[in-house]
C-alpha cells in the first residue's frame, strides 16, 4: 500500500484537476509502453510489457486436451494471474491471492466473451483438432513483476502481445479411428499456426479521482481513486467486457460517458500496441 501525506494527496488531486499530473502527463496520456516478445522459450508464446514502472509477463502454453462435452467444437482457454512477492512484499504467501483472483476474473471477463464463446477475443473454434475428441487447451499465465498501477491494462496488452507471438504446432490426425476411440496424432515440430489476434481487445482503465478520470494511473494515483472502470474494447469499437472497482457509486450517465471516452482512447492504444508488437517481433527475428 502507498502511504501518502496529506500534502502529497492534495498535490496529486490538484494536478489531476488541472490536467497536469505529477509526472507531467495529461489526464489521457499513457506512460511509455515497451513490448518485448518471445521472452520465454519454454512457452508457445510470450511477451513482456513495461508501462512506466509497471512490468508484467504473459505466457501462452498450449496442450492437447479433450473438448468440453457441451461444446465439442470449441477449444478451451484459461487465464491465471500470479502476483509475485518480487513486486510487493505484501504479495507474499496468500497476500497476493485476492488481487490475483480479481485480476484473473477481470481478464477472463474482458477477453473470453460470453458463455457461448461469442465476442471472445480468441476464436475458440480455431483451437479444435478433431471435433469432440481433441482440442488445444490454451493456458495463459500473467505474472506481475513490478507493480506501479494500471496492472489490468498492462496484463491485457501483454496477453495480446503474447498471443500474436504464439505459434501452435500443426497436428496431423491419423485417419481410421472411429467411434469413441481417441485418434492418434502427429504433432509437427516445424510447422506452426499463427493466431489471428486482430480481434483481441485492449483494456482501458479509467480511474476516477475527484470529478475527473485519468488513464494509466500510477499506484499513488490509484490510492486516491474513488472508483475505476475497466473497459475492454476491440478494433470495431465494440465493448467486450467491463468491470468496476472501487467502492463509490457512479451515476449511469457518468458510466456511459466513461465508456465513450475509453472507446476513443482505445483506438490510439490499439494502434500504438500493434506497431510496438510488430516492431518487437521484427527485433526478435533479427536476433
Amino acid at each position: 500500500m502507498v502511504g501518502l501525506s496529506l500534502g502529497e494527496k492534495h498535490f496529486i488531486q490538484g494536478g489531476i484537476e488541472q490536467n497536469l499530473r505529477s509526472d507531467g502527463r495529461k489526464r489521457d496520456t499513457y506512460r511509455p509502453i515497451s513490448v518485448e516478445t518471445g521472452v520465454i522459450p519454454q512457452a508457445n508464446g510470450s511477451a513482456r510489457i513495461r508501462i512506466g514502472a509497471t512490468e508484467v509477463i504473459a505466457s501462452v502454453k498450449a496442450e492437447l486436451g479433450r473438448p468440453n462435452a457441451l461444446q465439442p467444437d470449441k477449444g478451451k482457454v484459461s487465464i491465471f494471474v500470479d502476483c509475485s512477492p518480487v513486486a510487493e512484499p505484501m504479495f507474499e504467501g496468500r497476500g497476493g491471492e485476492e488481487l490475483s483472483t480479481e485480476l484473473s476474473v477481470a481478464l477472463q471477463c474482458c477477453l473470453l466473451g460470453g458463455k457461448s464463446g461469442a465476442g471472445a477475443g480468441i476464436d475458440l473454434s480455431s483451437l479444435i483438432v478433431a471435433e469432440g475428441k481433441i482440442c488445444w487447451d490454451l493456458y495463459i499465465d500473467g505474472l506481475v513483476i513490478s507493480s506501479d498501477g494500471n496492472l489490468l491494462d498492462a496484463l491485457g496488452a501483454a496477453i495480446k502481445a503474447a498471443l500474436s507471438n504464439t505459434g501452435i504446432p500443426r497436428v496431423q490426425v491419423a485417419p481410421g479411428a472411429s467411434g469413441d476411440e481417441q485418434p492418434e496424432v502427429d504433432i509437427s515440430d516445424e510447422e506452426f499456426m499463427q493466431f489471428d489476434t486482430s480481434g483481441v481487445p485492449v483494456i482501458v482503465t479509467l480511474t476516477k479521482v475527484g470529478r475527473h478520470y485519468i488513464v494509466d494511473a500510477t499506484s499513488e494515483e490509484e490510492s486516491q481513486m474513488s472508483s475505476a472502470v475497466s473497459v475492454s474494447i476491440n478494433r470495431k469499437g465494440h465493448i467486450c467486457g467491463l468491470s468496476k472497482r472501487g467502492s463509490a457509486g457512479l451515476d449511469p450517465s457518468v458510466i456511459s460517458d466513461m465508456i465513450s471516452v475509453a472507446r476513443h482512447i482505445s483506438e490510439q492504444l490499439i494502434n500504438k500496441l500493434d506497431s510496438e508488437i510488430s516492431a518487437a517481433e521484427a527485433d526478435e527475428d533479427e536476433m
Binding site: 483472483t101 458463455k115 457461448s116 465493448i239 468496476k244 467502492s247 449511469p252
Partner: protein, 257 residues
Amino acid sequence: MASKGGAAPSTYTPTPTKKTRRSPFFSDSDVDWLRPDGRGFHQCRPAFFRTGAVNSAAGSAYAEFGNTKVIVSVFGPRESKKAMVYSDVGRLNCNVSYTTFANPARGLGSDNKEFSSMLHKALEGAIMLETFPKTTVDVFALVLESGGSDLPVVISCASLALADAGIMMYDLVAGVSVSCLGRNLIIDPILEEESFQDGSLMITCMPSRYEVTQLTITGEWSTAKLNEAMQLCLDACSKLDKIMRACLEEAASASQD
C-alpha cells in the same frame, strides 16, 4: 416457503424504454421462440423476499426468484479479528457459498470464487462504514438452489439482510442481470438461458440515489445495445427496490403489532 408469505409474490416488468422499437424482438427466426418458463423477454421472475430467516443472526433475509433460492445472514458489527490493524472505518466481510445440492450435478458449483468479492464491491458503496469503526460486519450468503442470476439475487437479498440488521446504509442495493442471446435481450435469465448466452450484463444500483455500485459486462456489445440493456436493468432495479421496501415495511409493521 413462498406459499407462507402473506402477500402473493408479484411479477414485475420494467417499462420498455422505447415502445416504437419493439419490432426486433419478434422478427426473422425468433418468431416462435419462447423462454422455457413462458416469460416475456423483458419480464422478470416473481420476486419474493422475507426478512428474519435466521434467529441467531443480527439480521437475515431469504429471497426466492423462481428456482433461485438464497439465504443471507448478517452478523455484527462485532470486534475485528485480532490480526487486523486499527481502522477508523468499519470493515465489511462477505462470503458467498453454494450448498452441495444447489446444482443439478452434486457439489459441482459454477465458478463462484469471485462472487464473494463481487458481493463485497456491490455492497461496500452503500454502507456507512464510518458508523461502526474498529469493527467488522460479516455477510454470509448461501445459495440453496441455483436457478440462474444467482449473484444479483444474492446482492439484493444481502442488502435487505443488512437493513434488517440495522446497519446504516445510504440506500438499498438492488441487482438485476440481462443476458444477450443472439439479438435479443432477456432479463433475469434462468440457468439454462445463462449457459447459452452470448453476453451478459449485471448492474447493482442504489435506486433512490440513482447510482451504480457495480457493473460487469461480458461478451461483445455495441453501444446502442449496451445503453438499452443498462436502461432495462436500471428500470428493473427500481421496481425490485419497491418490492424490497414493501418487504421491510411489512416486517416493521408486523413487529409493532
